[in-house]
Symmetry: C2
Subunit: 381 residues, 2 copies
Amino acid sequence: MSNQILYFHYLYRLHYTFDSVTNICPKMADTPVRFGILGCANIARKMCRAITLSPNSVLYAIASRSLEKASSFVLENGFSPVEVKVYDSYEGVLEDPDVDAVYVPLPTSLHVRWAVLAAEKGKHVLLEKPAAPNLAELDRILEACECSGVQFMDATMWMHHPRTSEMRALLSDAQRFGQLKSIHSCFTYEADHNFLQNNIRVKPDLDSLGALGDIGWYCIQAILWAANYELPETVTAWRDPEFNEAGVILSCGACLHWKDGKVATFYCSFLTNLTMDLSALGTKGNLHIHDFAIPFQENVASYHAGSQFRIPMMSEHAVANDLPQEALMVSEFAGLVKRRNGDGLEPPEMWWPGISRKTQQVLDTVKASIERGFQPVEILS
Amino acid sequence: MSNQILYFHYLYRLHYTFDSVTNICPKMADTPVRFGILGCANIARKMCRAITLSPNSVLYAIASRSLEKASSFVLENGFSPVEVKVYDSYEGVLEDPDVDAVYVPLPTSLHVRWAVLAAEKGKHVLLEKPAAPNLAELDRILEACECSGVQFMDATMWMHHPRTSEMRALLSDAQRFGQLKSIHSCFTYEADHNFLQNNIRVKPDLDSLGALGDIGWYCIQAILWAANYELPETVTAWRDPEFNEAGVILSCGACLHWKDGKVATFYCSFLTNLTMDLSALGTKGNLHIHDFAIPFQENVASYHAGSQFRIPMMSEHAVANDLPQEALMVSEFAGLVKRRNGDGLEPPEMWWPGISRKTQQVLDTVKASIERGFQPVEILS
């Protein structure tokens, strides 16, 4: 296979693949969580597969504004119409009493409407990132979920990879890593002409946050993760972000500052070759990865660690995963849903909603700093 | 050997080693450039070895304010007093008619005095970085060198590693790399208590630029190198650098912006574990190294390149070097000196002085931005 074909094969796997589902994990003996999907976005293909691979979940229904499109989607992804119900409206899925949870890959501007309605209908909500166009809308969603007692999680997949928890252990190790001093994160890809003209991610009425929402979300969440979710004190956007004609951000960056002198930077862009870097530097060690958001390989991911008590030629650590990170995410989400449904008393788990909220808060502050001429903007925690 | 011992062995090699000189390269048939060294700084040990390893240079004289210190230095570094002349004053070296060139590892505040005098005495000048405390002083040095027709070069070693030119070829390749969009550079090390109390690098009267001069110099020069020496339009220092009690910078960072939308960031610190990162991102490819300033290995150095026409698992490229990078630097400098001396007509080569000047100009602008409360400061090119 030529390099170019291999590359497109990789991209396809990243965004669109739904491989054979003949080799799925056996379902747990008890009832799996039944998922409905609102919309047939490309990312939904990847999530169909993830729901199927996850041992405690099953794809139950899918909706599109066109029944034909929903039916085609079901067939194209290897299901029969007997297995998966199709609806020609999102309401159809939300009204279906057998749907336990919904995955919402709709454009960001529609999140508040459909995620709130889903919560009100008692459906647990797995929401594609960015969670919302702004914190006010995310708060409406989170409040609706809390009121209805349903679980909320944003669909940031890499957070659920076992590499992530192994790296977390490194960062928390006073001997190997010391005190965190600096973080740098970067997520870029080069969008083609068609994307830059037509994709929802560059349309102000659909995904008004552009690159900041689509990929800056990952960078910000990665920085917060490295900082153990301590919010920075101030955020200062870099000068001269790139915008499209409609005013949507195509590239931008920012500096984040903490009270203890810790600093972080991130850069996100639709106009630069694929890069997914994360570096965290401590007083005694450091951490580097070049594929933090989507590992280059599906079943193993590595990180590089340097420490003062070793030749500083960094050591590579590989972490195997039995399921793709998106299936691990679904499995974790479904586990929380089942815990909630189990005895009818357990409240929704608030760890993941809290992370989404902090991510959105920093993201909003980056936007505010851009709007205020790149002045530092304080975050009130 | 334990990891800790290996690490100290590595540090020792980075800063202090002068291994046996019994296995030196044969000198060229024609007269080598005769070097004098002003001062017995630790870095001078590494440079003694480099001058000896370089095929077109020889260590001829060394000066210290104490003759005893100079004599000990000669013996400790494997020379006999017959081979290398010792002087108890820097003037002694500069007055010696057989000294062709001087290497100046003195504290930065002394550069202008001794480099200008060296030039006036007709000695070619290889000057330790940072070149000067500010551009005005560097310009006095450069003017003195130009007036006297002597070669100037700052002693930034990695610029002379063959990896650097191979990476330059990648960055210049429109097919593999495309247009440069973003650069990030980071040089940090964790200085110990003794360093932070006593080292010249934290003394305002000796190295007033602190971490910005000592290691920020590398980051800035690396950014300019990646940008093909195009000066940025504005420089904005990050908020909240760390200072010692005397007001010397212990850590800082900045964002650099170019007219075409290109951005760069760097971070330097005496308070963070050893990190030497350089990333350059283009529209079609990217470049990553984790040991840009001092390769982890002495005889081979690698870089990672990603390209859109390949699976984006980055490929590693190793570049072998027959001599350590510091010896390659000495060799290149001596070659320019010999060219100048050869026919008596060739003017000094202005490429390297131009790079030093641009580096100093950006460095000064970072300092100005810090002093102006982290406001963007324009660079007039």
